[in-house]
Symmetry: C2
Subunit: 233 residues, 2 copies
Amino acid sequence: MELKPSDLRRVNVLEQSSDEDLANLLNNAVLRPIEEGEFFFLQGDPATHFYILVSGKAKLCQISKNGQTTNLRTINEWQVFGAVGTVRERAVYPACAQALEHSVALAVESRILHEMMETRPHLSFGLMQLMTGYIAELQERYRELATERVEQRIARAILRLVRQIGQQSGDAASPLELNLSHQDLAEATGTTIYTVSRTLSEWERRGIVKAGRERVVIRDLHGLMELAEGTGQ
Amino acid sequence: MELKPSDLRRVNVLEQSSDEDLANLLNNAVLRPIEEGEFFFLQGDPATHFYILVSGKAKLCQISKNGQTTNLRTINEWQVFGAVGTVRERAVYPACAQALEHSVALAVESRILHEMMETRPHLSFGLMQLMTGYIAELQERYRELATERVEQRIARAILRLVRQIGQQSGDAASPLELNLSHQDLAEATGTTIYTVSRTLSEWERRGIVKAGRERVVIRDLHGLMELAEGTGQ
DNA sequence: TTTTTTATTTGCGCTGGCGCAAAGAAAAAC
DNA sequence: GTTTTTCTTTGCGCCAGCGCAAATAAAAAA
């Protein structure tokens, strides 16, 4: 695979960048193909590069000492991740990035973007917008985890993914089918595969979803939204 | 109370700013005194201003529909909060800011800082450093909430506050006494006042802390750290 | 001082969700 | 095809933590 500078305009933060800048980024970057399940970087690694996901799908997660994984967010094509190093010298990644399928990311030296941001405010603003959006989502999910029941959190997680994918594909019609395992859902909502399974089974009985192996089909979007809102009880 | 431009250098982000810039900020700002329990802003309000806490203490929190409060972080003197509006037009605050005691904050028009950042990269980097630090903390707390027991989370919350205050006062000797109610701890760790009370009572029996009304004195810092690490079992 | 308010403690019962274990089902590898 | 691996389901027992209710204690107000 070969990337042209202009391809990078598909990245939100780089929309308005000049050809020279984009070429400069490419010159200080390498394409890193990563197999499913492998890591782009681990929590605690020196944040020497920031990444742009070129193809595939990945997730940001934290792994606790006892081996439990917590999903923080999913990363889709042309999204930036691991950008802490562009902001602070000798930073380390505060989470790990794992490929959910065979994926390719462009690893760009943090220093380069940092230097560019010195003179290109739109880059800083783009990155800050990413950060504030991410903070808002994290805060919301934190509150959910602290105050809501598992069923509600699973409903929200599914709807969040639906929105994310719909937004990315630009489709007006929501994709009512998701590829995600119970494991994924459990890690994203802070519960266990057993509880996810029981919850989905119950929903299937009620005609809200249809669950398959690593697949969830939404049958009653409205009903699911009610569950997410905690209405219904 | 009257603020001099140079006072603003106590704010991390503004350390390196020129006198003119600081004066400019002050000219577009007002001091807002807020009584204990009242709000600087609510979640969803238009983010027209960003704030610098001049005196007192505040917290960022979310309040869910059913009235439950979740504490996101505490804000100490000379810290910046509510800065989303400086990054994006027509942004709204993703959380609310509540005074924990009688407090005064400088409310600066978001637009001003935004304009300054166009030409002063160090401001952007300062703000981004705040954001990345906050993101790292949120991610960590999210994982804790998803994977750890209540006892461990309470221990961590207490230690976090100790570190925060020690860092702020610049004291080498940790302050082993905290002013915080069970309510605060419950909201910060996603549990209930009952469980906090039971946990502290148990710790008191074991000689780890001494609990009073809106007060926690740490007797055995090492023991508390072991609880936070999940060692001990 | 007394009264009122606010914070904390604790007994008690209950339940949401955990997690083992074992079986079933779908996919992948051979 | 068969075997192996991976994912899902479900019965079962259990317990961490919830939350009411009532008592107690400490502070604040009168």
